[in-house]
């Protein structure tokens, strides 16, 4: 446990408990939640972007760079969601419940990212699962309940597989600590027994990440969830509990060596299938949120494909894509929530010409859509480019072509959607949609700013990530 980052875990936890006692007025609950998250965000961003760090182009990163960037992503998305929901959730709902859940979720995610031990990581992931379970069925409607049930019962086998993996790990390696395991992995060709444990761990985290054969819960959970919750979930929760762990495993165990060849092949294969399935399934979707869910699956496919490859460049691409993914999906889901609130429906066929009634939402979601599809100056393009390059260097040319092709497919698909929803001719539902108040636009604007900045200042980001990856995968 990196004690220096422990603070990021305990503070939200304590503020979550405090909020429960502020039953009387919701205003105070808003303030406590937003302030604590904002303070965390400022702190972590100072830790990463402090001048002497930037001057040495991130040479002296205090802790493990990877978890630093993950904590940044967590606090960023959480802060945006809480700011958004402070305006979104009406007084009637039990708002402080929502905030305490959110803050506990943040604590759990920081736990996952900070832990140096598989079993601790599993406990935090379990805590995160329960919190997001509760948030999904926050609204007392059938959709929420169904989403929550599917989420819980379908990710259950995943956690059970992780537990079996951990027990085998105890048997073969005797320890769960990442550093010990890394030394075992470096000390010689991985014994096939360890690989059994790694296989179980991988399948468990794949289920939690929502890779194709196991993605069904993710779609229904995102669609059924209460709208700001789906931003929280889609943005960061499933990424942390699923994709982060897979990247961690790949960084520790040299998966691409002969003995473990099968696992890395399996990961790449599943990643590729996910990209294909997500991109194609998203095409005919009528519901905006469901379409976003499918496209987020496709993006997670990229991450798994890259981490399956295992080379430092690929891992770098995966990490950067994970961060970008968080920003895109956060913006898009928040926008879908605001569209749902103001236009009344997320059925894409009914929505049209939102551009003149909701300009801010439209333009931020356009930036996010283009970045997700991989338009050059924006950040999404860089991460996908790095992934494709890594694939190319390692000789996995087929996968490289595949990912390039499906980048095109998603781009075409998003272009059509943008035209239909934002710029089409007037539609009944588009009429009465009016722009969101400032509070709810601030997070989305902040996220799209970050998308643009990350795109433009890619060299700095690259050096930071390269530092993080090389230090971990030595």
């Amino acid at each position: 446990m990196m004690t220096s980052l422990l603070a990021y875990l305990l503070i939200p936890l304590s503020s979550a408990v405090i909020i429960q006692f502020l039953k009387k007025n919701d205003k105070l609950a808003d303030i406590v939640s937003n302030v604590s998250l904002f303070a965390g965000l400022l702190n972590i961003s100072y830790l990463i972007f402090n001048p002497q760090n930037v001057r040495f182009s991130f040479a002296s990163i205090a802790d493990n760079g990877f978890s630093l960037i993950m904590v940044l992503a967590i606090y960023l998305i959480a802060f945006c969601v809480s700011l958004f929901s402070s305006g979104f959730i009406p007084r009637t709902k039990n708002k402080h419940n929502f905030y305490s859940l959110l803050l506990t979720g943040v604590a759990a995610m920081c736990g996952v990212v900070i832990s140096l031990d598989f079993f601790t990581l599993y406990i935090y992931a379990e805590a995160l699962a329960i919190v997001s379970l509760a948030m999904i069925c926050y609204e007392d409607n059938e959709r929420g309940a169904e989403g929550a049930v599917k989420y819980f019962f379908l990710t259950l086998p995943g956690s059970v597989f992780i537990l079996t993996g951990i027990s085998i790990l105890l048997f073969t390696a005797g320890t769960f600590n990442f550093l010990n395991l890394q030394s075992i992995a470096n000390s010689g060709p991985m014994s096939t027994a360890n690989m059994v444990a790694v296989a179980f761990l991988c399948i468990g985290f794949l289920i939690k990440a929502g890779i194709v054969p196991f993605h069904t819960w993710l779609i229904d959970a995102y669609q059924g969830a209460y709208s700001p919750v789906s931003a929280f979930l889609g943005g960061i929760a499933t990424k942390v509990s699923g994709a982060y762990a897979i990247i961690k495993i790949v960084m520790i165990f040299k998966l691409f060596e002969s003995t473990a060849g099968r696992i890395s092949e399996a990961l790449m294969l599943l990643g590729a299938i996910t990209i294909i399935w997500g991109a194609i399934a998203a095409i005919r979707q009528k519901n905006f949120k469901r379409m976003l869910a499918f496209s987020s699956i496709s993006q997670t496919g990229y991450i798994v494909l890259a981490s399956g490859l295992g080379t430092p460049l690929a891992v770098l691409g995966a990490i950067f894509h994970l961060f970008n993914q968080a920003t895109f999906k956060g913006t898009l889901f928040l926008n879908s929530a605001s569209i749902e609130k103001s236009a009344g429906t997320t059925n894409m066929h009914k929505l049209a010409n939102l551009e003149n009634s909701m300009p801010w939402t439209t333009w931020t979601s356009i930036i996010a859509l283009l970045a997700a599809a991989g338009l050059p100056p924006l950040s999404g393009f860089w991460s996908k480019l790095v992934i494709v390059l890594a694939l190319w260097e390692e000789g996995a040319k087929g996968y490289a072509f595949l990912s390039l092709f499906f980048m095109l497919v998603t781009f075409a698909h998003f272009a059509i959607i943008q035209k239909k929803i934002f710029f089409g001719k007037k539609a009944a539902d588009g009429e009465k949609s009016r722009e969101m108040p400032v509070f709810m636009l601030l997070p989305v604007v902040l996220l799209s700013m970050i998308i643009i900045l990350a795109g433009i200042f890619f060299p700095h980001v690259y050096s930071f990530l390269m530092q993080a990856v090389t230090r971990n995968m030595l």
């Binding site: 832990s115 079993f119 805590a127 509760a134 085998i168 073969t172 014994s191």
Partner: protein, 185 residues
């Protein structure tokens, strides 16, 4: 050594019974008996603390909770459901499941025996190979030191997960003006 296998056999019987029984109440009770046999197995593995925990928590707390909820749902049975869903699943498990899936449960022993035979052919060599690479741990520190020194992170994790479950239950069971106040216990 022999009663070790007997215990496993008893455990298998209890679990199969709990799965096959249609009545939820009886299956919950069977499960409790199953967890008792699990704790006995743990004692045979000379892992007393785990056995005690298992006995007190899994065998005692969980059945209580489960039976409580079953009773709750049965008592608050919502015959008044107007949707006219075809299988009136308000009352106790008798007709909670429609008839057709009884067969799936009845063939469980057959399936389990099939898996047992297959396992004997495939799983045993697999585990044989697996067991050739044990990591023999030399020092056997006592439980207290391990939990406090070695697994201190887990304690913080447990705190988080407890707060998580507390917040979750509070928000899940917060029925906005629900008909009957939730009372699980």
């Amino acid at each position: 050594m022999t009663y070790h296998l007997i215990l496993f056999a008893v455990l298998l019987i209890f679990i199969m019974a709990s799965v096959m029984l249609q009545n939820l109440l009886y299956s919950a009770i069977m499960l409790a008996l199953g967890s008792v046999t699990v704790s006995l197995i743990m004692f045979t593995f000379s892992a007393p603390w785990a056995g005690v925990f298992e006995l007190s928590v899994c065998a005692a707390l969980l059945p209580v909770l489960v039976i409580g909820t079953i009773k709750l749902i049965d008592a608050g049975g919502r015959q008044d459901l107007d949707e006219g869903n075809e299988d009136n699943c308000g009352s106790l498990g008798f007709n909670i499941q429609p008839v057709e899936n009884r067969i799936k449960f009845r063939i469980l022993p057959l399936v389990v025996s099939l898996i047992a035979v297959l396992g004997w052919i495939f799983f045993i060599p697999f585990f044989e190979a697996l067991s050739k690479y044990p990591y023999m741990n030399s020092l056997n520190r006592d439980l207290g030191k391990i939990i406090w020194a070695g697994r201190s992170q887990d304690l913080i994790a447990q705190i988080t997960i407890l707060t998580a479950i507390a917040m979750a239950m509070k928000s899940i069971l917060h029925f906005s003006g629900g008909k009957n106040k939730e009372s699980k216990e």
